[in-house]
Amino acid sequence: MLCEIVDRHGGQATSLLQILIDVQMRFRHVPPRIMTALAGMLHLPRTQVEAVVEFYRFLSVTSVGRFDVRFSDSVTDHLLGSRDLAARLCQRLGVKLGETRVDDAVSIHLTSCTGLSDQGPAALVNGHVLTRLDGDRIVQMADFIDQGMDLDTWPKNWFKVEDQVQLAGLLLEGELPLGASLERALTLHPADIFSEIDRSGLRGRGGAGFKTAAKWRFCYEGEEGAVPGDPTIARYVVCNADEGEPGTFKDRVLLSRNAQDVFEGMTVCAKAIGAQHGFIYLRGEYRYLLDSLLRGLKVRRLRGLLGRNILGVEGFDFDIEIHLGAGAYICGEESALIESLEGKPGHPRNRPPYPVTHGYLGQPTVVNNVETFAAAARIMAYGADWFLSVGTPESSGTKILSVSGDCERPGIYEVPFGSPVSDLLRRCGADDPMGVQVGGPSGTFIGPDEFERILGFEDLPTGGSMMVFSQARDVVAIARSFTHFFAHESCGFCTPCRVGTSLLGQLIDKIAEGHGTPHDLIEMTQLAAIVKNTSHCGLGQTAAHPLMQTLERFPERYQERLKTLFFEPGFDLDGALEVSRQMTGREDAHAHLTQSG
């Protein structure tokens, strides 16, 4: 059985993660004997296999339940009552959160945002998506699980995922005819493809905004002194579909309704840079899209749009493979993603060298966001001018936004770059907004006097997440939730991030629970600077943003929680003696401590 799984994935060490995901599905955990066997079969040290199992949240050394339920734990799910629903399910099924019931029937966990913020509260059950959960469904679900009812027999509408495209623009309107942009690309020399994309001003849609044409050209040209386009060098095209930024779900929608555009964009890129292999790194939470994506790829192969001699062009060979992630936010960082593609734990690499010269297996690699490839495909088909007709000089085209939180009409909004936030708030029906988290927790939190700021690389860059919070919400609680998210998702590779994000979490807990003093705010600010300035990658460098940005904009919300004391412990000091008191039966004066000196 193991041999069969290993063979299916080509028996390479780079497939380790893919193999382990299948093992996990099969055995509901990765048994130690299988780790040993795999190490032997793939010629890897056993510790490396173990490291991978321990790194990814969807892999486990102990068995999960026959029904493995993971509640999405994004702040937008919290607003919809997800934590309460999770607690109720645990209670009905008699299982503790994070544990597996003794009869192995069920395990219930919390997991980072599952990319369904516009139709939450959401959860995954054995990799299948549940949307719009409510109290009634939880009651029924508990019964289904207790009766061991197969997922196929659960109500179909529970698994319904809607696209909710509220506003379509350049990328979401109409349909790009299959192969249209590829046919045009085939008439062009690589240099002309780069210049067309360059002229369109397309910049990476993941948030950082690096010029797409430059990235492609660097990959084509290789290192200094290399022969540009040297056909003996293997190059790779990677589509980053690890959409983990809480509150983002536009890539899910693109992959459900415009997957062919994405494939097409990747193929155009492959043509331009001379790549034969492409990967889509699909986050584990989106596993339910896998079958339809594989069907889409099959269609392209049948139409001669993938495979050998694409569209009859001798020597133009390119194919796309889909790799699954396994629940690690950090793998959205491109060098961590490449590590993960290679079957390793997703630790970000030192940069430089950058993936364009030293990417997958050390070869030149283009890593672009799903939306970037979709845009590139249409630019190739309709021309740079078509794309330039919308947007601003710095940020051409449109941006697909995932809108969630306190608004009437959450969902997907494709807006021209350069639109003010207020415009979007009006469209989505946000009546009484206190603030908007633009670009997810690692982005920018803006308050009401900033709603005229514009979306674009010149002002507010965004990967697409827009979480709206009404005046009724507690800004400290929001920042606290994001801070814990980062502590949870820190890969643990570097100390400032691993330790710093946890300390930030403890400090904000202390303040939020009313034990904070002015000293703690100073401490938090100093610690935030250390974490920001000394962390290895973007996760740690942005982990303190939610705290610092909300502290800057809403200092009074923090100050009103502070004690006027000099200092107070952040935990129940007298409670810390309770075990000792019980075990010794003591109640004398020395058996108690006051909370503040």
Binding site: V579, S580, R581, M583, D588, H590, H592, G597
Partner: protein
């Protein structure tokens, strides 16, 4: 700090959940101790065996973290009486070796030590009021009081103590050179 020019600096020291290693390291300043004593006077400290702090103490050096109620009371006495409170060494700063018990529930620790371990005669959990009650977890001192300075190391070297105190005596903000706190 002008009064320090005329008055000797009063220093108090203690070891909470520590091993006295930091104190031993302090004594490693060797003959410089005599120079030090020309400028400072020791208040409560294992060096003097004074049991409680005087009213006005300038510097308090705390070795060790907090493992019981008495540690907390002692720490608070220091915080109430000293101007500058210093966490000295790994245990005061992070909990250190004693905090390794934090991975085991306190109940199990006590049961193993006093009730079930091999060779125990008349098993019972000691409950004399003279004995301090254990906290459920060992804590670094900054979680319970505000700490002004941290001297890292296990233990901090004699040079660190010397630099820190001579800086203070000279009225400078203490600056420990990186070489003195760089351990790998």
């Amino acid at each position: 700090m002008t009064d320090l020019m005329t008055h000797k600096i009063r220093i108090a020291t203690t070891s909470l959940a520590g091993c006295f290693g930091c104190h031993m390291s302090f004594l490693d300043i060797d003959e410089r101790f005599f120079t030090l004593c020309e400028h400072v006077v020791f208040d409560r400290s294992p060096f003097t065996d004074i049991k409680h702090l005087g009213e006005h103490v300038d510097v308090g050096l705390i070795e060790g973290g907090l493992c019981n109620a008495e540690n907390v009371s002692t720490l608070r006495e220091f915080r109430d009486h000293v101007k500058i409170l210093v966490a000295v060494g790994a245990c005061a700063i992070n909990g250190g070796i004693p905090a390794m018990r934090n991975h085991i529930p306190l109940k199990e620790c006590l049961e193993e030590s006093y009730l079930v371990a091999v060779g125990i005669d008349s098993p019972q959990i000691p409950n004399d009021p003279e004995l301090p009650l254990l906290l459920d977890r060992v804590r670094p001192i900054h979680e319970v009081v505000k700490v002004d300075y941290f001297l890292p190391g296990c233990p901090p070297s004699a040079e660190v103590f010397w630099t820190f105190l001579t800086d203070l005596m000279a009225g400078r903000e203490p600056q420990i050179p990186e070489a003195q706190i760089h351990f790998d």
